[in-house]
C-alpha cells in the first residue's frame, strides 16, 4: 500500500477512501474529522463531525448549534476504528482543543498535524510528537527568516509601551480564537491585573476559554456607552486587527496599534499595516520548530501544505527526507 492510497487530496479536502472520511474539508461532506476550530479548517454543513470536545464547542459558538448533523467528541489519545483504519487525536498546541489526527492502517501511520506549534502556551495542551511514516506539516512560517521569540518578551514590550505612553490607548490586534486569549493570559502571567477591554467578536470565545479553566481575569467590553473616551487612556484593548481601520477604533484616545502575529517579524509587514508596535507572537511553528518536529517524528516522507511549501520541501531534500507539496485548496495563507 502506498501512503497516497491511505490519504490523498480531493477538491473537498484530504480524503481517506478506506475510512471514507475527510480531514478539515473545505466543502460540506458526509464525514469530517476536524483538527481545530479556526474557520478555514472548521466549516459548517457536514453530516457527521469528529473532533475534540473543545473544538466541537468552539464550532458551535462560531457557527451556531446546528453546525453539523451529528457530532462525536474524540478524547485525546483514544483510538477509534473507521472502516479499515484506526484514527486517534493528539494535542497540536495550536489553540484550545487543537489536535493532530493520526490515521493508521496495516502498520502504516500518517499524521495530519493541522496547524501546530511547539512554543509554550498556557491556554492549550502542549504538542505531542507522534512517530509516523508520513508527516503532513503546515508551512505558514516555513522560511528560515521566521524565528518566533519568547512570547513573554514580546508582551513585555507591550507593557513597556503602556508605561511610556500612558495617555494612549493600546490596541492589540489578535486573531479572535486562540491568539487573543493567549495574549491576555500572557499579560496576566506578567502581573498585569487591570481590566482588559475586548471587542465584541472576542466575547463568547473568551468566556468559553474561562469556562475551560483558562483564567483571563477581568475582561470588559470595549464600549463607550457609559463612559467617555478618556477612560481608555492607559488601557489595553484586544480586538481583531481588521477593526483598526474601522470607525470602531475612533472611540479610543490616540490609539497605538499593536499587532500580535508571526508576520510581525517582517518590518515591512508591520509598516504596511500601519502597526506601531509589532508583537511577534505566533500560534504556528517557526522554521526551527517545523524542521525539528519533522526530525522528531522520524517520518520518512513529508507532505507540506498551506504556506511556503517550497522552502520546507527544499529543507527535507537537503536532509534526505522525501517531501512534496500537498496541494490543498481553501486554506488561508494568512492565518495567524
Amino acid at each position: 500500500m502506498r501512503p497516497s492510497d491511505l490519504l490523498h487530496s480531493r477538491p473537498e479536502g484530504l480524503y481517506c477512501p478506506t475510512g471514507d472520511f475527510y480531514i478539515d474539508p473545505v466543502r460540506p461532506v458526509d464525514r469530517a474529522l476536524i483538527t481545530h476550530g479556526h474557520s478555514d479548517h472548521a466549516r459548517p454543513g457536514h453530516a457527521k463531525v469528529l473532533a475534540t470536545r473543545q473544538t466541537l464547542d468552539i464550532m458551535a459558538i462560531r457557527c451556531g448549534p446546528d453546525f453539523a448533523g451529528t457530532t462525536q467528541a474524540m478524547p485525546l489519545g483514544e483510538k477509534i476504528r473507521l472502516g479499515d483504519v484506526t484514527v486517534s487525536f493528539h494535542p497540536a498546541g495550536h489553540v484550545l482543543g487543537s489536535a493532530q489526527i493520526s490515521v493508521e492502517r496495516n502498520g502504516m501511520r500518517i499524521v495530519a498535524s493541522g496547524d501546530y506549534k511547539r512554543a509554550r502556551d498556557p491556554t492549550c495542551t502542549a504538542f505531542e510528537v507522534v512517530p509516523c511514516d508520513v508527516f503532513i506539516s503546515e508551512a505558514t512560517f516555513a522560511l528560515p527568516v521566521f524565528h518566533h521569540p519568547d512570547a513573554s518578551q514580546e508582551i513585555g514590550k507591550l507593557l513597556k509601551s503602556t508605561r511610556q505612553f500612558p495617555e494612549r490607548a493600546h490596541l492589540v490586534g489578535a486573531y479572535a480564537l486562540g491568539k487573543a486569549q493567549r495574549v491576555m493570559r500572557l499579560l496576566r502571567d506578567q502581573g498585569y491585573d487591570k481590566p482588559i477591554y475586548i471587542h465584541g467578536a472576542l466575547t463568547r470565545l473568551s468566556e468559553y476559554y474561562q469556562s475551560q479553566g483558562v483564567d483571563l481575569g477581568d475582561l470588559r467590553p470595549a464600549t463607550v456607552e457609559d463612559g467617555d473616551k478618556a477612560d481608555f487612556a492607559d488601557a489595553i484593548i484586544v480586538a481583531p486587527s481588521a477593526t483598526f481601520a474601522d470607525r470602531w477604533a475612533r472611540r479610543f484616545p490616540d490609539p497605538l496599534a499593536a499587532f500580535a502575529s508571526g508576520w510581525m517579524r517582517i518590518r515591512q509587514r508591520a509598516k504596511q499595516g500601519g502597526v506601531e508596535l509589532p508583537l511577534v507572537v505566533s500560534d504556528h511553528s517557526d522554521w526551527d520548530e517545523l524542521t525539528a518536529t519533522i526530525t522528531e517524528t522520524g517520518a520518512g516522507e513529508v507532505w507540506v501544505t498551506h504556506g511556503r511549501e517550497e522552502a520546507l520541501v527544499r529543507w527535507c531534500e537537503l536532509n534526505g527526507i522525501a517531501a512534496r507539496p500537498l496541494h490543498l485548496v481553501g486554506y488561508e495563507d494568512e492565518g495567524d
Binding site: 522560511l143 527568516v145 481601520a245 508591520a270
Partner: protein, 532 residues
C-alpha cells in the same frame, strides 16, 4: 545592543514626532555612557564606521546557508539587511554571557582592518540576537533610515535637559561621540561644555508669518524690507582656518558646496540664502538648486553647471567681534561694507527694498521682479540678532500660494490618531483631448482640512470606493462624479518621476468643493504653464 536595536525598531514604526521624541529621551535616560552617546551619533550620522558592501553580506551568508533557501527568504522579505539578520544561523555558543554593548560593537568595527572586516562583522552577528543583528548590519551598510533627523535628535537632547534646542545646536559641532560631557550637563551633573571648537554654528534668527491685522499695528518706518529668496538658509562660518557651511538647523553641508567653501577667505560668520546661478547675471530656480541639495559630495561638472553662491543679509561675527547684539541698521551697514570685499561670484548682497507704505510693499510682493522671490521679509531696524523665532522683529510676508482645482483619486489610511481615517489624498487634474479626458495624478496632501472636514472626506471615500490596495482606496472620479479638492501650493518643479511631469511644493488642501462638478476641475495645461 538590544536596547539600541529596540529603539531603532520602535522609531521606524512610530509616525508621530512627539512619540519619537519620547522614545529617544527615554533611551537617553535608561542607557548609560558611552552607549547612549554612540546611539546619538548613529542617529545623527556622526558615527564613523567603514562601510560594508551588500555583495560582502551576501558572501558571508552564502557561506552559512543553502543558497536556494536564502533566495526564497530574500524574495519574501525584499530587504537584504533584514533578510540576512533573520536567516543568520543562531550561534548560542558564541554569545557572551552579557548582552554585547553598542560600544563593543562600534569599537570592534572601527578597529577592524579592511581585510579582516568581514570576519569581524560575522563574529559580531554570531554574538547578537535577531534585532541586534539588523541594527549592526544597518550600522555597517550606512543609513539607518529610521525617519529621525539630526534636528529631532537634538530636540530630544533639549527635552532631556529642559534646555532650548538652540543651546544644543550652538554646542553641537564642538562635541564628538560619545558626548559624555553633553549628557553630564543635561543631567545637571556638570557645567555646560565649553565651546572649544572653532567655526561653530550660531543659532539662527527666524521670522513669523504676517498674520491678519499684524501690519496695521506696525509703522512702516520701523522696518526694512528685503526680498525673500526661495533658496536654502545657510550660515557661512570661517574662523581660524576652519570653514563650515551650515544649514539653518546646524547641519554641516560644507561637503556639498566646495565652490562656496573655497571662497570663504575671511574670518566671519555670514547669514544668507544659498542659491545657484550667477549672482550678477541669472539666479537659478529652485529646481536648479535641488540638483545640488542632499549630496555628500558633488562632481566638478555639477559645480560648473549649477554654481552655488550665497546672497547675504546679515553678519553675525567679524574678525573676532560678535555683532549679534548690535541693531539691524548697524549690522546692515557692516555687511554691506564686508560683502564688497568678497568674491563677487560667490557672495552678494540681498538688496533692501525701499517702500513708504504697506500698500506699496503689498503691490511689490504680489509682482516680484524674479521667479525665485517668494515674498518679502520685514526686519525691525532696531532689533538685535536673536536666536529662535521671537515675535515682532522679523516677519515673512509670502507671495500668495498658487491654487488649483483637482479631483480626489486615491485615499490612504493615516497613522496614529488618524489610523481609522482615510486622511492622505492623491489628487489629479484632467489631461487628454476633449471627450477623452483622463485624470492624471499631480500630488498628494494630508493636511489643510479641519477634523470635521476629515470626517466628511473619510465618509466620501468609504462610500465611493472603487478598488482597494492594502491601505489605499481608489475612489470614484469621473467627469460627473467625484470630489473636487482645491489645492494650494508654493511652486511647481519638473519631475521625471511623476507621470504628470510636475511635482508640487508644499501642497495642502485649501477648500473642499462639494459644489463643483469634477468636469470643471483644472487641466494639466494650467499647471504646465506655471513651469515656464
Amino acid at each position: 545592543m538590544n536596547r539600541f536595536a529596540e529603539l531603532l525598531d520602535r522609531l521606524v514604526l512610530t509616525p508621530s514626532r512627539n512619540g519619537k521624541l519620547k522614545l529617544i529621551t527615554d533611551h537617553f535616560r535608561a542607557v548609560e555612557d558611552p552607549d547612549r552617546g554612540l546611539a546619538l551619533a548613529a542617529i545623527t550620522g556622526e558615527l564613523d564606521i567603514a562601510s560594508v558592501k551588500p555583495a560582502m553580506l551576501r558572501q558571508l551568508v552564502s557561506e552559512r546557508m543553502d543558497p536556494i533557501l536564502f533566495g526564497y527568504s530574500y524574495d519574501y522579505v525584499g530587504d537584504l539587511a533584514e533578510t540576512v539578520s533573520l536567516v543568520w544561523p543562531e550561534a548560542p555558543e558564541s554569545r557572551p554571557n552579557h548582552d554585547i554593548t553598542l560600544a563593543e560593537v562600534v569599537q570592534k568595527l572601527q578597529s577592524a582592518s579592511r581585510s579582516d572586516g568581514p570576519a569581524v562583522l560575522a563574529r559580531l552577528l554570531d554574538q547578537a540576537e535577531t534585532s541586534a543583528r539588523f541594527a549592526i548590519i544597518k550600522l555597517v551598510t550606512g543609513g539607518l533610515r529610521i525617519g529621525v533627523s539630526a534636528r529631532l535628535a537634538k530636540q530630544a537632547l533639549a527635552d532631556l535637559g529642559s534646555v532650548d534646542v538652540a543651546e544644543i545646536e550652538e554646542l553641537w559641532h564642538g562635541l564628538t561621540p560619545p558626548y559624555t560631557s553633553l549628557f553630564a550637563w543635561l543631567e545637571g551633573k556638570a557645567t555646560k561644555p565649553e565651546k572649544a571648537a572653532r567655526a561653530l554654528f550660531r543659532p539662527v534668527m527666524l521670522s513669523n508669518p504676517v498674520g491678519d491685522g499684524d501690519l496695521e499695528k506696525l509703522a512702516p518706518t520701523d522696518y526694512a524690507a528685503e526680498w525673500k529668496w526661495d533658496g536654502i538658509r545657510v550660515q557661512a562660518v570661517s574662523e581660524g582656518g576652519i570653514r563650515r557651511l551650515y544649514s539653518r538647523t546646524g547641519d554641516d553641508v560644507s561637503g556639498a558646496f566646495p565652490d562656496v567653501v573655497a571662497a570663504m577667505e575671511f574670518d566671519a560668520a555670514l547669514d544668507g540664502e544659498l542659491l545657484v546661478g550667477s549672482p550678477r547675471e541669472a539666479t537659478g530656480t529652485f529646481s536648479d538648486l535641488q540638483q545640488r541639495l542632499n549630496r555628500k559630495t558633488v562632481s566638478a561638472k555639477m559645480q560648473d553647471r549649477y554654481p552655488a553662491f550665497v546672497r547675504c543679509y546679515d553678519l553675525l561675527q567679524l574678525d573676532g567681534e560678535d555683532l549679534r547684539e548690535l541693531p539691524f541698521t548697524t549690522r546692515r551697514a557692516r555687511v554691506e561694507a564686508f560683502i564688497a570685499t568678497l568674491d563677487p561670484d560667490r557672495f552678494d548682497l540681498s538688496p533692501l527694498v525701499a517702500f513708504d507704505s504697506w500698500d506699496q510693499l503689498e503691490a511689490m510682493r504680489r509682482e516680484p521682479p524674479h521667479p525665485i522671490i517668494e515674498g518679502v521679509m520685514l526686519k525691525r531696524l532696531d532689533s538685535p540678532y536673536l536666536a529662535g523665532r521671537p515675535k515682532g522683529p522679523w516677519f515673512k510676508w509670502k507671495r500668495d500660494p498658487h491654487i488649483v482645482d483637482t479631483v480626489l483619486m486615491y485615499a490612504q489610511r493615516g497613522h496614529g490618531k488618524r489610523s481609522s481615517f482615510y486622511s492622505d489624498y492623491t489628487f489629479g487634474v484632467w489631461s487628454g483631448a476633449e471627450g477623452a479626458e483622463e485624470l492624471v495624478p499631480v500630488g498628494k496632501a494630508y493636511f489643510g482640512f479641519t477634523d470635521e472636514e476629515l470626517k466628511q472626506i473619510d465618509k466620501f471615500v468609504r462610500d465611493n470606493t472603487v478598488e482597494r490596495f492594502g491601505p489605499v482606496r481608489s475612489v470614484r472620479a469621473d467627469r460627473a462624479n467625484g470630489l473636487v479638492l482645491e489645492v494650494a501650493f508654493e511652486g511647481l518643479n519638473r519631475s521625471t518621476r511623476h507621470k504628470s511631469g510636475v511635482a508640487m511644493r508644499f501642497p495642502r488642501i485649501s477648500r473642499l468643493r462639494w459644489d463643483k462638478p469634477p468636469a470643471e476641475a483644472d487641466r494639466i495645461e494650467t499647471l504646465q504653464a506655471l513651469l515656464d
